[in-house]
């Protein structure tokens, strides 16, 4: 279930204990190893490729500045995700950005996401239905509160365990589960409404 997550976390916790002493030359491979996953999570949370790109840079800059505070309790990957989730949350707090996000809720990115569904074997009807389905989920996810959106993306895009999500969001496992329940309910409701 977590094969993608494990692949992205290349530096185990014990190796990360000395991150505070990491030099600039050693930080570059860390960026290379984790940038794809961080970008993907930020794209899932912001739905904005430019914002995701900028926030990915910010995430690594913040990680470099705060490398002295990394104690190795979690893996470097989860620690980076924690920074990324906080950045995405701050990004969404801007009312102006929310306004533009709502205005663009049926923007080209949503359509592009629907088009990018890789299923060359499916019939044309199934492809259209699939695109609508994915666009529906995507739109529903964007309407979720920040915390629910974060746990939903980490669970269903990154396929992380509840414990890893709890670590990355600074929440208890029970709270993560509650957020996931609410998020899945909201997404299902939204999708059913879309189908009617």
């Amino acid at each position: 279930m977590v094969q993608n997550g494990q692949a992205a976390m290349m530096i185990p916790a014990q190796e990360g204990v000395g991150l505070g002493m990491i030099a600039l030359d050693d930080f570059t491979p860390l960026v290379e190893a984790h940038q794809r996953r961080i970008y993907r999570v930020l794209l899932g949370m912001t739905r904005d490729p430019d914002a995701a790109q900028n926030l990915t840079q910010e995430c690594f800059l913040k990680a470099y500045q705060k490398r002295g505070t990394f104690r190795g309790e979690a893996s470097v990957g989860v620690w980076l995700l924690k920074i990324a989730v906080n950045l995405a949350r701050d990004h969404r707090r801007s009312r102006l950005r929310e306004f533009w996000d709502r205005l663009a809720s049926s923007s080209a990115e949503v359509e592009e996401l629907g088009r990018s569904l890789p299923d060359p074997q499916a019939s044309p009807e199934r492809v259209i239905l699939g695109r609508e389905e994915v666009s529906g989920v995507w739109a529903a996810v964007q309407k979720l509160p920040a915390q629910q959106r974060a746990v939903f993306v980490l669970r269903f895009v990154e396929e992380m365990s509840l414990e890893e999500i709890a670590e990355a969001t600074s929440l208890k496992v029970g709270t993560v589960k509650t957020h996931l329940f609410r998020a899945v309910h909201a997404v299902r409701r939204q999708c059913k409404r879309g189908n009617v």
């Binding site: 279930m1 600039l24 930080f27 570059t28 960026v31 290379e32 940038q35 794809r36 970008y39 993907r40 794209l43 899932g44 490729p49 995701a52 790109q53 990915t56 840079q57 690594f60 800059l61 470099y64 500045q65 002295g68 990115e109 592009e112 996401l113 629907g114 990018s116 569904l117 890789p118 699939g130 389905e133 994915v134 529906g136 989920v137 995507w138 996810v141 993306v153 669970r155 269903f156 895009v157 396929e159 509840l162 589960k177 996931l180 329940f181 899945v184 309910h185 997404v187 299902r188 999708c191």
Partner: protein, 154 residues
Amino acid sequence: MNNHLSENQITEWALGTSDEHVLRHLETCSACSREVEELRSALAGFRDGVHASARRDLGFWRSLQLAVCERLPAQDWYPLHWAWVLAMVVVLITAILLTRAPSVPKNYLSEDADNALLQAVQGDLSRDVPQALAPAVLIAEERNEILNNRRLTK
């Protein structure tokens, strides 16, 4: 109809935390199977869609990596700067404390006071006249001197 899976049970299934009862029900109930299959398909489609949207060519990742690394050294002096400021403050406070602290230990002070008191007592004991009567002795001596002078002048 009430035997169908609840909303919570379907969500539990999606999270992979459902129990045996739910799994057995899904084997026999086509309506619930269709429900969970729709949900599974929607979630899988969303995951694949986000993964596909986040796929970029090698040039994108290289430029992102370069942008991060170009900005790193400029940011690096901040933690060092604050570390220096903190070290200087600690040195300054230590210096102030050291210069203000009394240089003579307390034990020596009390020992000197005891010695002075003992010497004073010894001095009092060795006097012919107690120290308190010393002015009276001086007055008496002056009086005797005046009387002697008068006698001589007569």
